[in-house]
Amino acid sequence: MKKLHQFLGYDTPKAGDFGIEIEVEGANLPSVTTGGWKSEKDGSLRGESYEYIFTNPVNRDKVRKNLDFLKHKLRDSKLDFSFRTSVHVHMNMHNCTHTQLLNTIYTYLLLEEPFLSYCGKERKGNRFCLRLQDAEGLLDILNTLFKTDFNSLMIIRPDAVRYAAINLESLTKYGSLEFRAMRGNLDVDVIDNWVEALYRVRAFAMQIENPIEIHNLYAEGSPQSFMETVLGDLSKTFYYPKMVRDIQKSFSLSLDLPYCFKNKIERVNENKPKIKQNPVGKYPVYDFNFTRIQIGDRVEIVRKIEDGVVYWPVEMDVYVNNGEVYEVEDIRYDPVHIVLEGAEFVFPAEALSVVAKAGQEIEEEEEEEEEE
């Protein structure tokens, strides 16, 4: 199966699990170029401000160390995390197949509400990180992505889905999914928990078969048990009173996605060349006595079939045991029926009895000749 890095033209996947951007406004903010960080100016911020960014993606176990470094570096600064600031987490998807990418997106969407609640109540409805229920236009892209393959990533117009809480635009740009929901802050525990939750979503997505299985796993349990399966012991961090209702809502909102995937699978299977166990026109057809019927054989019609499945109008009754012998003109399949020369109807094979194979004389006639 092709992986995202191959689709994007890389020989090997990019190393590292996460990249993080932390936007800060305030005073006495230093420029940082060490400890795995760099600082950049960001036009969306006001006054003295910086965006601190990982210089390179790092493995999961190095995230906390980097966060600790930045926190120490800003210890003398006055930090103001206004509504304009946020923490963006990029999760590397380079090593994922298309289905694993869909699994990650679908699992995240099912848990989007508890995630947003954790990231900050003020983030719900925030125009910089719109949930699926705030901006269902994201489904236009997702439905296509779930119905097709990586190529559909190329139809995403610049900035068209940029402000979704899960930003797909970064997939082709950086090979990552960008999660934009976290409020501006530099609380190492809060950010590290958030990163761990996303890490577990991806780990879950890598091992489950496809979005249909995710749907079924959810269907067989409860919203809470689903979250526990995905996040394990971390799930308690994301509990809140209306969580179950909110996850149900997310399930409804994203219901089209597993069905888009299912339709895609069914379409692919339909287009596959079918391996026929009994290729049409080649499998043997037998008469009432289990004698094989072939074109040119001569047969009698020895019984009426009345099973309610086979087509047998009353007009066909006169052919039964009428003393006539008919030559098999053709054998048609799916369903099997026999075309007899001189008969106005076609007959099921089990109504016939072979009296002579093709090229053979009828035994009775031969006997008569001998007597003569």
Binding site: L130, R245, S252
Partner: protein
Amino acid sequence: MVDVSVDDLIQLYLNTLVLYKNKPIFVDGIGKTKKVTYFDLSTQRNMVVDYKEGIFKAPTRRIGFINIGKSVVYSYRNPVRRYKIGYSHENLKFLTIEVSYPESRSITKERAMSLKSPEIRDSIFNSYPSFETAFMLAKEFNGAYAFDKQFAVCCRNRVWYKTDLVGTVNDSAKTIYDIVFDKEYAHLTLLLDNNYEKATSISRI
């Protein structure tokens, strides 16, 4: 948000639909003294208020089907990189569907796009009639009528999910259980069985 300038306010709120005191309003103008003129969708009247931090909220409810002009328009927000807090032409999409529009397709769509009609308020607050009433009105109007944020029925006995034709009903249909979904859309019953966007009774695919 005390440091928000008039320019910021204009960028954030002008010509948008936002919630003020939990009611949808359309912001028509913002003066130099931060006086905001707005149109109240519920009362259909123009009003003025002095801007204060946090008085306007972003709508966190989807729009969905709007029952307007004896027919329906489906509307939703796109997560585009724009700065408006509320609903605006920059971030909303309005779609008509393949049903009849007794008051003209373009005029009906334009009315919805004005963002001032009381019908949009009804959609935001999830105010829809029962299936039976919607079907009766669709027949009476010779148009279409939504009975849910995501579902509408038209006078030709067809049922729509967002912009897709998903099933049919016969003339005597009274409830959502009379809808015959096309095979590909049979799962949508999940969305009708319970709350409009809270499927609780579900089964394996």
